[in-house]
Symmetry: C2
Subunit: 181 residues, 2 copies
DNA sequence: TAGCCTTATGCAACAAGTTGCATTTGATTG
DNA sequence: CAATCAAATGCAACTTGTTGCATAAGGCTA
């Protein structure tokens, strides 16, 4: 259900094609949602079928046509409903933690590779977040409340990522110490 | 694929029935994995079909029979393979963040209810973590490396939860300030 | 000039997760 | 005494997400 809601929100802010939304998922919404292009196109089509979206086909010379979607009245109503009702807790799923419960069978080199790879990935994520911050929230003090809210989400994303990075550093350090002895 | 791996790990540590595993998911593995009983029973049966698990039916007088599962050789091999190969990054999905992008349409009272409900839920989670810590990791200094690894996961779980709680408090506070003016 | 990248869309098959419903027995609670 | 809870299992239908494959045209690179 949530993918629908995310699409309603981003298309309400600004109409766009499936491809546009994909770009938003890679840029300004990177810490909010990710989905494959296949999933996007299918869901957009279904939402049109359910009357939540309408689209205009924009023929482009020398390029495939773009289908630009925007909300219908039913789409706006559906969004309002979704906002009003509380979210259900998402189930915990930490496959990395599972590996920690099999510490002895987990080969030391695989372990170190896994953690350093995650470290690199999280560091990259921080770079993405910094880019978003520069582009959209250059001057936090001057933001309106509605602009400030998305900025808050970015702040939390950064903090959570840093919490992860700090922990990984500690675990790697402890592991190194033990192998020096 | 990860549910399989989690089942392999927990059954390798100690054989058990679907119901047992469900209890572990509620207690010692609360910060690692969650799944419904339906999903569990189905997956266990499939894994038996795939030769990863074997089970003995324990007839209990006055109670439904218990099927106690344990790893086969193929199960052990599958686990080793899974441990050796790196995890793929899990896609970002933060429906709450999405709501923040629709701040203006999000009714102020729904907003506050949502955040305080989440706050309560996270606080409860911390209590669960504290219970796990007392039961399994009473004396961290005396732990072997293999026992210490799961303890690390619990530490990160706690930190992440506290990061969330701190952020929610800030957001609520800012919201309150604005409405006092 | 062959091969890849980007723009732009999509179908089909499959895997994973959710929701609803169902069964059996004993113990507890009102 | 009736209702509910806990132990213990499961099927069926549905929704959501993944993977593989396909198309079409222009631009860039070796």
């Amino acid at each position: 259900m949530s993918l629908r809601a995310v699409l309603l929100i981003t298309l309400q802010r600004e109409p766009g094609s499936g491809y546009d939304i994909l770009q938003r998922f890679k840029a300004g919404l990177a810490h909010v949602w990710q989905a494959s292009h296949q999933q996007l196109y299918r869901e957009l089509d279904r939402m049109r079928g359910d009357g939540l979206l309408a689209c205009e086909t924009m023929p482009q010379s020398e390029r495939p046509d773009r289908k630009v979607y925007h909300l219908t009245d039913a789409g706006h109503r559906a969004l309002d409903e979704w906002l009003a009702e509380p979210l259900t807790a998402s189930p915990v799923r930490q496959p990395l933690f599972a590996k920690f419960f099999a510490w002895e069978q987990w080969p030391a080199d695989a372990r170190r590779d896994e953690l350093t790879a995650l470290q690199a990935q999280l560091a990259k994520r921080l770079v993405v977040y910094a880019t978003i911050e520069k582009q959209w929230f250059a001057d936090p003090a001057s933001l309106t409340p509605a602009e400030r809210a998305p900025w808050h989400t970015l702040r939390l994303g950064k903090r959570l990522t840093k919490t992860w990075l700090g922990w990984i550093e500690e675990v790697l350090e402890e592991d190194r110490e033990r192998h020096v002895d």
